[in-house]
Symmetry: C2
Subunit: 348 residues, 2 copies
Amino acid sequence: MNDLSDKHLTPLSELGEFGLINKLTQNIKYINKTTIKGVGDDAAVIDITDKKILISTDLLVEGIHFDLIYTPLKHLGYKAAIANFSDIIAMNGNPTHLTIGIALSAKFSVEACVELFEGLKLACKKYNVDIIGGDTTSSKKGLFISITVIGEAKEKDIVYRNTAQEGDLICVTGDLGAAYVGLLLLEREKKAFLIHPNEQPDLQGNEYIISRQLKPEARLDIIRLLKDYHIKPTAMIDISDGLASELIHICTNSNKGCKIYEEKIPIDPTTVMAIEEFNISPIIAALHGGEDYELLFTIKQSDYNKIKDIPGISIIGHITEAAEGINLITNNGSMQPITAQGWNSFRK
Amino acid sequence: MNDLSDKHLTPLSELGEFGLINKLTQNIKYINKTTIKGVGDDAAVIDITDKKILISTDLLVEGIHFDLIYTPLKHLGYKAAIANFSDIIAMNGNPTHLTIGIALSAKFSVEACVELFEGLKLACKKYNVDIIGGDTTSSKKGLFISITVIGEAKEKDIVYRNTAQEGDLICVTGDLGAAYVGLLLLEREKKAFLIHPNEQPDLQGNEYIISRQLKPEARLDIIRLLKDYHIKPTAMIDISDGLASELIHICTNSNKGCKIYEEKIPIDPTTVMAIEEFNISPIIAALHGGEDYELLFTIKQSDYNKIKDIPGISIIGHITEAAEGINLITNNGSMQPITAQGWNSFRK
């Protein structure tokens, strides 16, 4: 578990803002030839002349989006970047540049910041993204991370969420619900740790599920595969708040309805096993869990023959006219309207 | 003073994140034809094909950067936008697009958020900037604002901070120190208010100084004027941390030294009068106060005849070789090295 109070660590006040920025950015090498000026001036300068520019911003707040008791800072940095890359990818674009703002209280050391940045840099290296700017400051309490990702796409390739058509097939990548079950397991171990601090966490056999929560990936591989197969989705969104919430976004924004089939929703067997003890059904985790960072997209029926052989993509239903509503056909054949129970951070 | 606890206001939990976003963004009209898709998808889409793209990110943290006891939320939104526009302008660019992330605790109402956004929108309207995306979430405590501004500039127009040359003249716009004295006055009135809550704040005659702190402007007018006069600065930075700190940035980044003259530093007479009671000399406020959002730039000596007649620009000194150091010539003729005492938010 993270030890942020070690007395051998360097207090932030010793370096100050500019010293901290220098330390965090000293080894940054720019990968993209579009990066003209990165860190170190009033603004960064980039050059994307032949494509459209995609921009997305996310905030991550300690105690709301993450718990440092069980989230290693390096993983947190990695995940923060991935969550943003996923937004660019969900537009069928390539993430290329990133700016980061960090506000943190005096309980954090310089070394803790460096850890967080290591994770961020690792994700950026893996996805060929340049860190081109940011801001660091103190907070009265807690850690706040704000990331803005810039990406690029040709205009003809961009996929919005409001362009699904009646009859389109609904596809999801990977499997769903594991990140949420990973969170449940980590919360369980946190409770155990607070009661018996010397016992080791019991997470054996659940490495996959835990990694889905702590170190997710964004599906850049999928949008590349789709290009290779000459498939352009008709609408696309990433699954950050849960399948139900994202489906509702696509349907309401496109002014359409849909039918999806419980039996078609991809859930990993280890997710099904691990969720048993929590008295939650796996389909609920898949529909409402969130943080899987998989892609939900629609394709024309005529692309069925092309997509059916791509591994890791499940066809879970189809788009209907709006009047039919947004529905789940359960395993016993009944039809249930899908409602958003996705996460509302403002709910007490 | 802001009343955030009024029971007639709408709790954030009632609207939820998507409801709040809808409310905040419902009247947003896009001004720039480069805005292809704004709020409402995984990412925004912009189209800047014939120019370079400038990007800057800033974090504003309650209790660190602002105090809601004397900062109206509308002013805060306005200032948050301006501080970022200023970074783009300091690259000799035009701010065009903005994303905003807000994390706020349950003490804030929907109406408070709307107020904040009103200020943001007002600044965006005045500077022709489109709000194209963002994120809202809750925090355990306090208000956090993260803004990323995107701007554009032709490559030949971009001005960096590391390109000042020996012999260049050093210029500043407007006057310095007023924003800091405004802060001192507001802090004084806060103390008085906490002791005698029913007394009216005593700020008469100091409207200019207070407005410099609460509702600053960015100097887009100046970079347009410089273009009209065919002057391209050799280096430029905006004055957010105080003249001393910014001067050191330009000199160390350009590997140069400088001499500036105390008598040439523009300070408004009301600043000089108002600072008297605080036992701080006006030059200290100008050198180390910050938040003036004026521009500090260098020009070739050969541009002297062009610039000398532009109102609102003061020539305060010149660039020397690095070995001469970074120096202030005081009014009594002595030479003092300039050190950064600019603000360090990590200092306790």
